[in-house]
C-alpha cells in the first residue's frame, strides 16, 4: 500500500514539473496532470477499498520520522480515505471535464489545479493545526487562482473579495492556533483535548473553530462565497461545492473532540440557520450558478449541524452524514458541470438540455436528489436526522430543517419546471463533447449506485418495496421503446404484481380495497394511453413510480416505507402533471404543497416516535394520549393531499393542466392516498384534543366548508377539467366530514365514498379526456351538442353525474342516505346541512358540465367529430358496469367495507336485512328502488315512444327563436358564465381567501427574502465585516456575554 503522503508528493512533483513545460506541449502537460490525478485517486482509492475490505489497517503517517506531537502526522482512516478519494476522483474528472479549457490555458493553471487538490487532501489528512492552517492557505490561494480561470471583471472582483475574506479568516485562525499552542504547548489536535479546560484556552479553541466555521461559508457571513459561486467557472463552482466544503466540514469534525460539549448544539443551530435561510434566499435567485451556490451553502449548513452534533446522533451519524455528503457531492458537482455544458445562467436557456435525454434525466436525478426525495440518500438521511432529533426533543430544529427543505424544494423544482418547459432555443445549441459528458454520466451513475446501496442497507420489504422500485427502474431503462409497448408492459406488470401480492394481503379487506383502487385504477387509467404515438418519453417511468408509490402506502412495514411511498408518489405525479403543456406553475404549486404536506407528515412521524416509539402509525390500535399535535399534523398532511379548503389551491391547476389522459390517474386514483391516510389516523388514533378542542369537530367543519367551497368554485369554471377538479375538492370535503364524524357509519361513508368517488371521478375525467382528445379544447363554451357525435361518452358522463349527485337509483344515493343517518345520529345538523347544500350545489356544475358539452348547439368545427377512441371508452364502461352493479347490490361493497372499521369506533353500524339496509333511523332498499324506477321508466318511455314514433327529427337551428332564426351556434349556445345569477347572489362566498392567503404568503416571503438578500451588498469590505460580526456574535452566544 502506497503511503498517503505520496498523494502529496506525486501532486507536488507534477505541479513543479509542469513549470518546465512549453506552450506547444500543452496537450502533453494536460495528460501528465491527468495521470497524476489518476495516480492520486488510485492511492486514496486503494486505501478506501483496503480499509473497507479490512485488508489494510487505518494508519498514521509520521513525516520526518518522528512521532507526534513532535512532527506533523497525516492520518488515513476510513473517513479520510472516503474524503480524499472524493477529492481526487473529483480532481481527475475535473481535468477530464476541463480538457478543452486546460488545453488552451497554459501550464500555470494546471499547477494550480493540482496544488488545489493537494491542499484539500492535506486538509483532510493532517492532524496538525498549523499544518492545517498552511494548507488551508494553499487551498485559498489556489482557489483564488481557479477563480480567475475566466478572467472577466466579475470573477476577478469575486476573487478579490475571497482574498479579503480568507485573509480575515486566516488571521482569526492563526491567532487561535498560536494561542492554542501557547496554552497547551503543542499543535497536534490529538494532544489538545484539555485545551478548552485551561483558562483562556477555550478562547483559542473558539477562534480556531469560528475561523473554520466561517471558512465553511455559514449564513450570513458568506457573501464572498456566493459571489464566487456566481462568477467562477462552473467546474470551479462544483469544486467549491463538492470538495472544498466537505473538506472544511471534515476539519470541523476533526476539531470537535477539542470543542467543549456545551458548544456543539449552538454550532449545530447555526448550521441549521444557514440551511434554512440560504434555501430561503435561494428562492429569489434567477441566476443558476448563484442559486446553486446558495444551495451548496445550505447543504453545507446542514452538514455542519450533523457534524457538530455527531455525538448526539450516535450510531446514526455515519448514515446521516454520508447521505448528505455523497448526494451533495455527486449531485451538486453534476449540476455545476451541466451548467458548464449549457453555458448559461438563465433558467430559460436550460431548455436545450432536453435535447440530450440522458443528461436531462441526470439533471432531474440531481435535482431530485438534492431536494431529498426518495430513493436518493438525502431522503433517508433527512428521515433519520429528523427521527433522531425527535428522539432528543429537538422540535425547533425539526421546524428549521423542514422549513429549509421546503424552500429548497421550492427553488429546485421551480428551476426544474422551467427547464422542463423552457422553449428550445435554436441559437444556443448545446455542446457536449464526450469529455464533458463522461464526468456527469459517471457521477450520475455513482449517485444512483449510492442510492441503491442506501436502499439495500435499509433492508426494505422485497415484495412491497424492492420489487416496485425494480420495476420503476426497468421502466426508466426501457424508456426508448414505443409508447404502446411500454403501456402494455406497465399494465402487464401491474396485473402480475397484483396477482403476486394478492395472497399476501388476502384477508385484510382494507388493504384489498385500497390496493384494488390503486392497482385497478392504475391499470384502467393507463388504457387510454394506447392512443399515444411515438415513445412518450418520460411518462411511463413516472406513471409506474406514482402507482407503485401508492401501492407502498397500502401495506407499509414501518413509517419509513409509508413515507417513502408517499414521497415517491408525489414525485411521480409531479412529473406527470408537469408534462402538461401549461403545467409549469400548477406543477410547481403541486410540488410545494405536496412537499409541505410531506414535511408536516415527517414532523408528525418524529413526534410519533417520541410519543409511541417505533410503531407504524396505522397500527396504533386506539388511544394515543396527548397525541393531539401528532394527529393534527398527520391530518393536515393528508388533508393537503385531499385538498381540504384553504389547502386546495394547488389542485385545480394541477389536475387540469396535467396531460389529459394522465389526469384520471393523478386525480381519481391519487387523491385517495389522502383518504387512506386520513382513514388510518382516524382509526388508529382515536379521538384527540388540541388545546381542549375536539379535533374531529374542527375537521368536520373543515370538511363541510371544503365541500361547499369546492362545489361553489366548480360552478363558475368554464374549463372542463378544472370543473371536475374542483368537484374533487368538494368530494374530498365530503369524505373528510364523514371521517371526522368518527362513527361506524361515518367511516363507512368515507370508505364507500372513496371507492365511489374513485369510480365516477376517474370515469368523468376519462370521458373529459376523450372529449378533449377529439375537440382539442377544454373550454366548455367552445363545445356543445356533442351528444350526436359522442353518444357513448355522453352516457358515461350522464351516469357519472347521476352518481355524483347521489340521485337514486344509482349508487351515489347510498352515500347520501347513510350520510343523513350518520349526521342525525352524530347530531351535526348544521355541518350536515352545509354538506347537503354542497350536494345540491353540485347539481349546478354537473348540469353545466353535461349540458354545455353534450347538449345545446353543435359548433361548426365539431361537425365531423368522431366518438372518443375505444381505448378511452373501454375503461369508462368498466366503471359504468361497476356503478350499475353497486347501484343494484350496494351490499357487495358496503358489507366488506364495514368489516374494515374497528369495533372500538363508536356509533351504530349499518344493518342488513336481505337487500334492505337499515339503521335505527331509516331504511333503504336499493334493489326495490331500482326495480320500481326501471319499471316506471320503461312504461312511461314506451308510452311516449308509441305516441311520438312519427316525430320529425329536426336539426339544431329548428328552434323557436321569437320568430327569428339563430345566427351562429356560438351565439345560441348559452354556456359561458351560465350561473351569472347565482354568482350575483352568492358570489361573495367565493372570495378567493385561500388564494389570497397563499399568494400573500408567497409575496411576503419573497419580499422578505429580497430584503434579506440585500444584506449581500457585493462589497468585499462589508463581507469582511460580516465575518468579524459573525465570529463576535457566535462568541457572545457561546460565552453568554462573559469572557470564557
Amino acid at each position: 500500500m502506497v503511503s498517503p503522503v505520496h498523494i502529496v508528493s506525486i501532486g507536488l512533483i507534477t505541479a513543479f514539473l509542469l513549470g518546465l513545460g512549453k506552450k506547444s506541449q500543452q496537450s502533453i502537460l494536460v495528460l501528465v496532470l491527468l495521470i497524476a490525478t489518476a495516480a492520486m485517486t488510485m492511492i486514496s482509492g486503494s486505501w478506501l477499498i483496503g480499509i473497507m475490505t479490512g485488508s489494510v489497517q487505518p494508519t498514521d503517517v509520521f513525516t520526518a520520522g518522528f512521532k507526534p506531537p513532535f512532527a506533523i502526522n497525516l492520518r488515513m482512516t476510513m473517513d479520510e480515505a472516503v474524503l480524499t478519494t472524493m477529492v481526487n476522483l473529483f480532481g481527475f474528472l475535473t481535468v477530464i471535464y476541463l480538457f478543452d479549457v486546460l488545453k488552451n490555458a497554459g501550464k500555470h493553471l494546471l499547477s494550480i489545479i493540482v496544488v488545489f487538490l493537494i491542499g484539500l487532501n492535506v486538509i483532510v489528512m493532517t492532524r496538525d493545526l498549523f499544518n492545517l492552517f498552511v494548507f488551508l492557505e494553499i487551498t485559498s490561494i489556489a482557489t483564488a487562482g481557479l477563480m480567475i480561470m475566466i478572467q472577466d471583471s466579475k470573477s476577478i472582483s469575486a476573487g478579490f473579495k475571497f482574498l479579503i475574506a480568507s485573509s480575515v479568516i486566516s488571521g482569526i485562525l492563526l491567532i487561535g492556533i498560536i494561542f492554542a499552542y501557547s496554552y497547551i504547548g503543542n499543535l497536534n489536535i490529538d494532544f489538545m483535548s484539555n485545551l478548552s479546560l485551561i483558562k483562556g484556552g477555550s478562547v483559542a479553541v473558539f477562534l480556531v473553530l469560528s475561523a473554520i466555521i466561517l471558512e465553511s461559508k455559514q449564513f450570513p457571513a458568506n457573501g464572498w462565497a456566493l459571489d464566487m459561486y456566481e462568477s467562477a467557472h462552473p467546474a470551479i463552482g462544483s469544486a467549491l461545492s463538492a470538495v472544498s466544503a466537505p473538506a472544511v466540514l471534515f476539519v470541523i469534525y476533526k476539531l470537535m473532540p477539542i470543542v467543549p460539549e456545551s458548544w456543539h448544539s449552538l454550532i449545530g443551530l447555526f448550521g441549521l440557520i444557514t440551511f434554512t435561510f440560504s434555501n430561503f434566499l435561494a428562492t429569489r435567485q434567477g441566476n443558476i450558478r448563484r442559486m446553486l451556490g446558495y444551495s451548496s451553502i445550505a447543504q453545507g449548513g446542514l452538514m455542519l449541524t450533523v457534524v457538530s452534533m455527531s455525538t448526539f446522533f450516535g450510531n446514526s451519524f455515519w448514515f446521516i452524514i454520508l447521505g448528505f455528503l455523497l448526494t451533495n457531492f455527486f449531485a451538486k458537482a453534476g449540476l455545476f458541470w451541466l451548467n458548464g455544458m449549457v453555458n448559461s445562467d438563465d433558467q430559460n436557456k436550460w431548455g436545450v438540455l432536453r435535447k440530450r435525454p440522458v443528461l436531462f434525466f441526470l439533471f432531474g436525478a440531481f435535482v431530485v436528489a438534492i431536494a431529498g426525495l426518495p430513493p436518493f440518500p438525502t431522503f433517508f438521511a433527512k428521515w433519520e436526522m429528523i427521527m433522531q432529533l425527535a428522539n432528543g426533543n429537538g422540535w425547533g430544529w425539526i421546524v428549521l430543517i423542514l422549513l429549509g427543505s421546503i424552500f429548497e424544494i421550492s427553488f429546485l423544482f421551480k428551476w426544474f419546471g422551467r427547464v422542463f418547459h423552457a422553449e428550445e432555443e435554436k441559437i444556443n445549441d448545446i455542446r457536449t463533447p464526450w469529455f464533458k459528458q463522461v464526468p456527469v454520466l459517471l457521477f450520475g451513475a455513482a449517485l444512483l449506485a449510492t442510492s441503491y446501496y442506501f436502499v439495500e442497507y435499509l433492508n426494505f420489504d422485497v415484495l412491497f418495496v424492492m420489487l416496485p422500485l425494480l420495476i420503476v427502474t426497468v421502466f426508466f431503462a426501457i424508456d426508448f421503446l414505443p409508447a404502446f409497448v411500454k403501456n402494455l408492459l406497465l399494465i402487464a406488470s401491474l396485473t402480475i404484481y397484483g396477482y403476486l401480492i394478492y395472497p399476501e394481503i388476502d384477508g385484510n379487506v382494507m388493504q384489498l380495497v385500497f390496493m384494488g383502487v390503486f392497482l385497478v385504477g392504475g391499470i384502467l387509467t393507463l388504457i387510454p394511453g394506447f392512443t399515444q404515438k411515438g415513445t412518450r418519453a418520460g411518462f411511463y417511468p413516472f406513471a409506474a413510480m406514482t402507482i407503485f408509490g401508492l401501492i407502498m402506502l397500502v401495506n407499509p412495514a414501518d413509517n419509513l416505507t409509508f413515507f417513502m411511498g408517499w414521497e415517491q408518489m408525489a414525485l411521480g405525479s409531479y412529473i406527470l402533471i408537469l408534462r402538461g403543456k401549461k403545467a409549469e406553475r400548477p406543477a410547481q404549486q403541486y410540488m410545494l404543497f405536496s412537499a409541505g404536506g410531506a414535511y408536516l407528515m415527517l414532523a408528525a412521524f418524529g413526534l410519533l416516535l417520541h410519543f409511541a416509539g417505533d410503531t407504524f402509525f396505522g397500527h396504533l390500535n386506539g388511544m394515543l394520549p396527548g397525541g393531539g399535535v401528532v394527529f393534527v399534523l398527520f391530518a393536515l398532511a393528508f388533508m393537503l393531499k385531499a385538498a381540504a379548503i384553504g389547502l386546495h389551491i394547488w389542485l385545480p391547476g394541477a389536475y387540469s393542466e396535467a396531460e389529459d389522459d394522465a389526469t384520471p390517474l393523478v386525480s381519481g386514483v391519487l387523491i385517495n392516498s389522502g383518504v387512506l391516510g386520513l382513514f388510518w389516523i382516524a382509526t388508529a388514533f382515536g379521538p384527540q384534543q388540541l388545546f381542549g378542542y375536539d379535533i374531529y369537530q374542527i375537521m368536520g367543519w373543515v370538511g363541510a366548508i371544503t365541500a361547499i367551497g369546492g362545489n361553489m368554485l366548480a360552478i363558475y369554471e368554464e374549463d372542463m377539467k378544472r370543473l371536475i377538479a374542483y368537484s374533487s375538492v368538494g368530494a374530498m370535503g365530503y369524505i373528510i366530514f364523514a371521517l371526522s364524524m368518527n362513527s361506524k357509519l361515518g367511516l363507512l361513508i368515507a370508505l364507500y365514498y372513496m371507492v365511489l368517488h374513485f369510480i365516477y371521478k376517474t370515469m368523468l375525467f376519462m370521458s373529459a379526456a376523450g372529449v378533449i382528445y377529439r375537440t382539442k379544447t377544454r373550454n366548455m363554451y367552445e363545445m356543445g351538442g356533442l351528444i350526436k357525435s359522442m353518444p357513448w361518452s355522453f352516457i358515461v358522463v350522464l351516469i357519472g353525474i347521476i352518481t355524483l349527485a347521489g340521485m337514486p337509483p344509482l349508487a351515489g344515493f347510498a352515500g347520501k342516505w347513510m350520510f343523513y343517518n350518520a349526521v342525525v345520529m352524530k347530531g351535526w345538523y348544521l355541518q350536515g346541512t352545509m354538506v347537503f347544500f354542497s350536494g345540491i350545489v353540485a347539481f349546478l356544475y354537473l348540469y353545466k358540465l353535461i349540458a354545455s358539452v353534450f347538449l345545446g348547439q353543435l359548433k361548426d368545427n365539431h361537425r365531423k367529430l368522431k366518438e372518443a377512441p375505444f381505448v378511452y371508452l373501454l375503461p369508462q364502461f368498466i366503471f359504468v358496469i361497476a356503478i350499475m352493479v353497486l347501484s343494484v347490490f350496494p351490499q357487495v361493497l358496503l358489507e366488506p367495507l364495514a368489516t374494515i372499521i374497528p369495533d372500538r369506533i363508536p356509533g351504530e353500524a349499518l344493518h342488513w336485512d336481505g337487500k334492505l339496509a337499515m339503521t335505527s333511523f331509516g331504511y333503504w332498499n336499493a334493489f326495490s328502488v331500482m326495480s320500481v324506477v326501471i319499471v316506471m321508466f320503461a312504461v312511461i318511455f314506451g308510452w311516449l315512444v308509441y305516441h311520438s314514433r312519427k316525430a320529425q327529427k329536426v336539426k339544431q337551428f329548428n328552434i323557436v327563436f321569437a320568430a327569428e332564426r339563430p345566427f351562429r351556434p356560438e351565439t345560441t349556445h348559452v354556456s359561458y358564465n351560465m350561473f351569472a345569477g347565482y354568482k350575483k347572489a352568492l358570489g361573495w362566498l367565493m372570495t378567493p381567501l385561500a388564494t389570497r392567503f397563499w399568494t400573500g404568503v408567497s409575496d411576503w416571503s419573497m419580499a422578505i427574502a429580497d430584503k434579506m438578500r440585500s444584506w449581500y451588498t457585493g462589497n468585499g469590505q462589508t463581507y469582511a465585516m460580516h465575518l468579524l460580526l459573525y465570529a463576535f456574535v457566535l462568541y457572545l452566544l457561546i460565552s453568554g456575554g462573559k469572557i470564557l
Binding site: 503511503s3 503522503v5 505520496h6 502529496v8 508528493s9 507536488l12 512533483i13 505541479a15 513543479f16 514539473l17 509542469l18 513549470g19 518546465l20 503517517v61 513525516t63 520526518a64 520520522g65 518522528f66 506531537p69 513532535f70 512532527a71 506533523i72 497525516l74 500555470h108 493553471l109 499547477s111 494550480i112 496544488v115 493537494i118 491542499g119 492535506v122 496538525d128 498549523f130 499544518n131 498552511v134 494548507f135 492557505e137 494553499i138 490561494i141 489556489a142 483564488a144 487562482g145 480567475i148 478572467q151 494561542f179 501557547s182 496554552y183 497547551i184 504547548g185 499543535l187 483562556g200 478562547v203 483559542a204 465585516m1025 468579524l1028 460580526l1029 463576535f1032 462568541y1035 469572557i1043 470564557l1044
Partner: protein, 231 residues
C-alpha cells in the same frame, strides 16, 4: 459614519476578546514539553545547530513544503494572471541614474552571493532558504529598478524553480524510503554538529528552497514589472 462607528465598536469587542488572552496568559517560566524536546534533542536527532531550522526543515518539514507550495502557487497565479495580454511595450521610463546603475552592477553579484550564503548556512546560523531566497530576489529587484526594461531569462528561472522544487520533493520521498518518514533528513549522514556539511539533508533542502524561493520571488517581481510595462 455610522458604519465606521459600528466597526469601531465591533473591533473594540474583538479587542476585548483578544484582551482575554492577555488576562489569561502567563509568561512561560519553562519550555513546555514539545519545544523542550526540540531544544534538547535537535542536536542529536537532526544534527542542526539552528534549532529553528531543524523545526522548520525537519520536524515541521511538511509545513515548509506547504510554504514553498504557497509561494509556488502564488507565483503561478501571478504568472497566469499577468501574462495573458501581449500588448506591445510602449513604456519609456526615464533612464536610471548613474549611481543606481553602477551600484546595481556592483552589488547584484554580491547580493546573490550573500543570498547563497544565507541559505547554505541556514542550519547553522539565523537564516535559511526563505531568507536567502528573499535576499536573492532583492538583487533582482535592484536590477529591475535600475533597468525597468530588463529581460529575464524566463526559461532559466522556471527551470531552476521546477528542478529545485522537484528535487525537494524527491528528497522528501527519499527520506521516506531511506529514512523514517517523508522529509526525514537523516537518510544522509548527520555529520558533525556545527559544520557546513552536517544535519543530513537540511542544507540541501534549504539550498533548494533558497533557489526556488529566489526564482519564484524574482519571477513575481518580473511579472509585476512586465505589467507595468504593458500599461
Amino acid at each position: 459614519m455610522y458604519k465606521n462607528m459600528f466597526i469601531i465598536v465591533l473591533l473594540a469587542g474583538l479587542g476585548i476578546l483578544l484582551g482575554s488572552f492577555l488576562l489569561t496568559h502567563h509568561a512561560n517560566k519553562a519550555l513546555p514539553e514539545l519545544p523542550a524536546y526540540y531544544a534538547d534533542k535537535t542536536a542529536s536527532e537532526v544534527g542542526a545547530a539552528n534549532v529553528v531550522t531543524a523545526v522548520i526543515v525537519t520536524y515541521r518539514g511538511f509545513d515548509t513544503l506547504g510554504e514553498v507550495t504557497i509561494l509556488f502557487v502564488a507565483a503561478s497565479l501571478i504568472a497566469m494572471f499577468l501574462k495573458t495580454s501581449k500588448a506591445p511595450k510602449d513604456r519609456h521610463p526615464r533612464p536610471s541614474s548613474v549611481i543606481l546603475s553602477t551600484a546595481q552592477k556592483l552589488l547584484f553579484p554580491l547580493i546573490v552571493l550573500f543570498g547563497v550564503y544565507v541559505f547554505t548556512n541556514g542550519h547553522l546560523t539565523p537564516g535559511g532558504g526563505f531568507q536567502g531566497g528573499a535576499v536573492i530576489a532583492t538583487g533582482f529587484l535592484l536590477l529591475l529598478m535600475a533597468n525597468p526594461q530588463a529581460e529575464f531569462k524566463h526559461g532559466l528561472l522556471n527551470f531552476i524553480e521546477s528542478i529545485s522544487g522537484t528535487s525537494y520533493v524527491i528528497i522528501g520521498i527519499l527520506g521516506a524510503i531511506l529514512g523514517l518518514g517523508f522529509l526525514d533528513n537523516r537518510f544522509m549522514s548527520l555529520g558533525e554538529l556545527g559544520t557546513l556539511f552536517s544535519a543530513g539533508a537540511i542544507p540541501v533542502i534549504y539550498s533548494l528552497i533558497g533557489l526556488k524561493v529566489g526564482a519564484e520571488l524574482s519571477n513575481i517581481l518580473h511579472h509585476l514589472n512586465e505589467v507595468q510595462n504593458e500599461a
